[in-house]
Structure formats: structure tokens, C-alpha cells
Symmetry: C2
């Protein structure tokens, strides 16, 4: 997805949020904003939005000396999500349509804001999102929730690449991956993390912490951006990506990065941003399982 003009104020909001999470003074945050304003001139609308994030994080690290500002939020998210893992497994096991339920849960994991409240009721939020999801899917056009095609393609696939998004959420991805593995036991599954700390996105260590290695091969994309920017991929990662005969791209950042890429991708996300909703032709907070069509 190209960067839309609406993404630009949002870049500055990202700087604000980074500043609010730290001990930086207003003057220091202004220095970051000035630098982003400067960077903007070199940043073409043809770039995808996640390509700006490393610039902001680099500036933040230079000013604050903190290389992983989301570390505590990431740890807390993993912990809270791991605490409901048994419950997630039980929900899938009880379901008459376990794969569909696991897909819905993976979306639910994408929308829970673990950092927002110290006492977030993850179980309660899951149930609420699942009930919304059922209603949403019933009204979705098949194009935006292509579950039948998804199952069909899974049944034919040999190598699945699952591109992860945020910490905490990846516990929900684990449940989906385990459910897929149970349905299609001969399928090889790679789970892809970011290469270096960026926002609250998952790293290899988070994948291990959250037990993804029990269900998939953990692979670092090597990326510094909160989305899989394939033009920046190493030859090794590019080869692995090309070998996959099915790719699940999780969350908004990966959608932004991969939506123009010619590959057998399913985009799995909940729309949390009106620009992405418009790009997809959906509403806000829609459950999306969209097959790449170029």
C-alpha cells in the first residue's frame, strides 16, 4: 500500500506517542518532529507507511539512548496473552468450526490493546470480539473474508509462511498455527518475526517466549520496519518467501507492506485505521481474511 496523505499527520502522532512514553522533554520531541519533517521531503508517497517507522525509532534512540522503548509493554503483552492460552485452546476445541474460530481468535489478538490498561480483561475482550466477529463475518462480502478459499489453499499448500505482527498477539497466532497444523499435518510452517526492535512488533525471542517454536520454524525477517518490506529483504529471506506456496500476512503493518506484492498471500487483520479500511474497501474494525489479487 502506498502512503496516503492521511498517514503523514499520523507519523507525527507516532513521534508524540514515543515522546509520551519517555522522559524526553518537549524540546527533544520537537527535535524529532523537525527531523521527521525533514525526512518527509525524501519520503515518497510511493513508499509504504511502515518505511517511516525506523526513522522515528532511530531518532528516538539517538535522543533517549533507549534502543527498545516498547520492551516492557512487549513483555507484559506476551505474559497477559500467555495467561489466556489455555482458554484460547479450549475455545477452539469446543468449537464446531475450530479453524474458523482460530482465525477469529487470531484477529482478536490483533485488536487487544494490552498496553492501554494495566488491568485489561483479556478473556472478556476475546469473548466480545468473537461475538462481534461472528456478526461481522455473516455480513462480509466473501472477498474480504475468503475463508472457503483459505481452507482450500491450505489443503493444497506444502510450505506456509506466517508473518507475525505484535507481541501478545502472537500467542493467538500460535493457536491458529497449531489448529492449522492439526488439520494439515504434512504442512511445513515458518513463523516470521522482525529482525530488530521496532514498536511492539515481535522478535525471535518473543516467538520462543510465546511457544511458537512448538508449532513452527521461527525465522527472522531481518527487517527493521513494522511490516515486511520485501525490497529490503536479504537474498536468503527472499528465497524462503518465494518457496512458500501460501503466506499469511498478519496485521495492518504487514498489509501496508505486502499489499502490492505478487505472492500467494492471505491478509489476516482487523481494520483499526480508516486509511487501511478504505484501501481494503471495508469498514473500521472489520475482520479481514483477504486473498491477494493483483
Amino acid at each position: 500500500m502506498n502512503t496516503y496523505l492521511e498517514c503523514i499527520p499520523c507519523f507525527f502522532n507516532q513521534v508524540l506517542q514515543a515522546g509520551e512514553r519517555s522522559e524526553l522533554s518537549s524540546a527533544q520531541v520537537k527535535v524529532m518532529m523537525d527531523a521527521v519533517g525533514d525526512e518527509l521531503k525524501r519520503f515518497p508517497l510511493e513508499a509504504s507507511p511502515p518505511e517511516m517507522a525506523p526513522t522515528i525509532q532511530k531518532l528516538y534512540t539517538e535522543l533517549s539512548g533507549i534502543s527498545d522503548p516498547y520492551k516492557s509493554i512487549k513483555d507484559m503483552s506476551n505474559e497477559k496473552a500467555l495467561a489466556v492460552y489455555p482458554e484460547l485452546k479450549a475455545i477452539v476445541e469446543r468449537s464446531a468450526t475450530p479453524l474458523l474460530t482460530a482465525v477469529e481468535l487470531a484477529c482478536a489478538g490483533n485488536i487487544i490493546d494490552y498496553g492501554a490498561h494495566q488491568d485489561v480483561d483479556v478473556s472478556g475482550e476475546i469473548l466480545q470480539i468473537l461475538s462481534q466477529a461472528d456478526a461481522a463475518i455473516a455480513h462480509e462480502e466473501r472477498e474480504l473474508f475468503a475463508f472457503d478459499a483459505f481452507c482450500d489453499d491450505l489443503s493444497k499448500a506444502k510450505r506456509l509462511m506466517y508473518v507475525g505482527d505484535n507481541c501478545g498477539e502472537i500467542v493467538f497466532d500460535r493457536v491458529l498455527i497449531e489448529t492449522i497444523a492439526a488439520h494439515y499435518p504434512t504442512l511445513h510452517i515458518d513463523f516470521v518475526t522482525r529482525g530488530t526492535p521496532i514498536l511492539n512488533d515481535c522478535l525471535v525471542e518473543d516467538a520462543y517466549t510465546c511457544g511458537l517454536h512448538h508449532a513452527a520454524t521461527i525465522v527472522s525477517s531481518g527487517m527493521v520496519s513494522p511490516g515486511l518490506i520485501m525490497k529490503n529483504a536479504s537474498p536468503e529471506f527472499k528465497a524462503l518467501f518465494d518457496q512458500a506456496d501460501m503466506i499469511i500476512s498478519k496485521g495492518q503493518g504487514n498489509y501496508e507492506a505486502l499489499s502490492g506484492i505478487d505472492a500467494p498471500i492471505y491478509f489476516l487483520l482487523i481494520t483499526k485505521c480508516k486509511v487501511i479500511a478504505r484501501d481494503l474497501g471495508s469498514s473500521m474494525r472489520d475482520l479481514i481474511l483477504k486473498k491477494q489479487k493483483l
Copy 2:
């Protein structure tokens, strides 16, 4: 009021809105955003937010050739507000506390978004805002709605300067000014407009269109910004400002510009922006009549 960091994303949103109101391409709007990003480095947080608006409007005019992009919105706002002028007068005449009602109406005029819907029900919106206002005032601290002090100062004043804000809204200001004039017939009243087109702010021609000249002397501030930036005032305007023994500053833009100025000012507005609400120590959509205290 200094510029807060939160104002900076908002500057870029102003560019977006300018772009949406025009035939400018995304590439042209990006050029404006790049220029604002560049300008940002020269824009200190000690400046007040309205000081950025002329930069944005100048860029817009250079790219579009349109010097007054809000002209049609301004005309429509004046027309719609003039249509309810008799009703506004009747509401004040029926009121047991006409001056208080006129103050509330002046605030109501500040919040109606004439441009949002072609078929905006101005009468309905007024009644709704008045009922909200009564509830709000009842719970306000006296500091944020200093109506008794306002009446007391009006009774002693000889020269009142009323600094106008937006088109449409100024019809509501006219009703307040006429009510003040009826209560204090010896008071001289100047009504101040902007000097050149900026956003939907009122100009001398709008003041005449809306009949303000029946109740006050119309004065152009000469300003190019959507707020009275006194450091940019001409010696003549500065002298007039200094002669006033009471000033009513209308709306958010004038509050941003004048809140640090040592003068006998009452700020009359509804808070529509969380930054301003925080600066005032109020909630959003609060009715404010605050006496300047430095």
C-alpha cells in the same frame, strides 16, 4: 498560548483539509506538507499555533491560484446564520436573563459547523447547545465562566473591543453586541475582523454583510493569521487595542493568540480542541467566559 507538540500533527491535518477542499493532486498536497515540514524547523514552540496558518494558506494559494479557499463556505455560513437572526433576537428577548442568554448564543455560534452538512438545522443545533450550556454553566467553576465579573466590568467600561472569529458565528456576536449595547448604551464598541482571507475567519466585508455595523464600529486588525497576534499589529491597531478598557476575545484562535497578553480580556469560546481545553483547565465542549489573569 504556546504551541503544544499535539498541535504539530494538527498542522498537517490542516494541509490535508485544504487539499480535500480543492482540486489539488496528492502530489501537490505532498509538496505543501513537505514545505510545512520544512517550516516546522523554523517554527518555535514559543510561537502560538495560529502563526502557522498563514504559511499553509500561502502555500495553498501558490499551488492552487485560489487566494480565498473558504469563500463559498464563508458566504454560506453568513447566509445560514443571518436566516436565524430573528430567532436569536426572539430567544434573547424572551429570556429572563437576556445578557447571559446572548453570551450563551455567542458560544453556540462558535460551535455550529455550517460547512459540515448542506442541510444543517441551525435552529435545532442552537436549542441543543443552549440546553447543554445551562447544564455546563451550572457546573462550571466561576473562574471558567466569570459572568458576574463580566457584567461588572461591562458596567464600568467606556470602550469595548470585540475580536471576531468565524463567519456565520459573527451573526451570533452581533446579537450579543446588540444586547450589550442595550444594557450599556454609552459604551463604544469596536468589532475587529481579520485583515486578509484566512480559513473561514471574518473579514470587514463579512461584518457588513452580517449587519455588525449597526451595532459596532468595524475595524480590520490587518492580521493574516486566524488569531490576534499582537506582536504583528500595526501601531494604529495597537493604539486602538490599548485604548479599550475591556476586550472580548472570541473563539479558540484568538485565545491561542491572546492568552499570554497583558490586557483586560475576557475569553469567550467553546472548547473544541483537547489542547486548548487542557490549557484552560476545562473539559471538551465547555462554555468558557474567562477573565484574563496574568
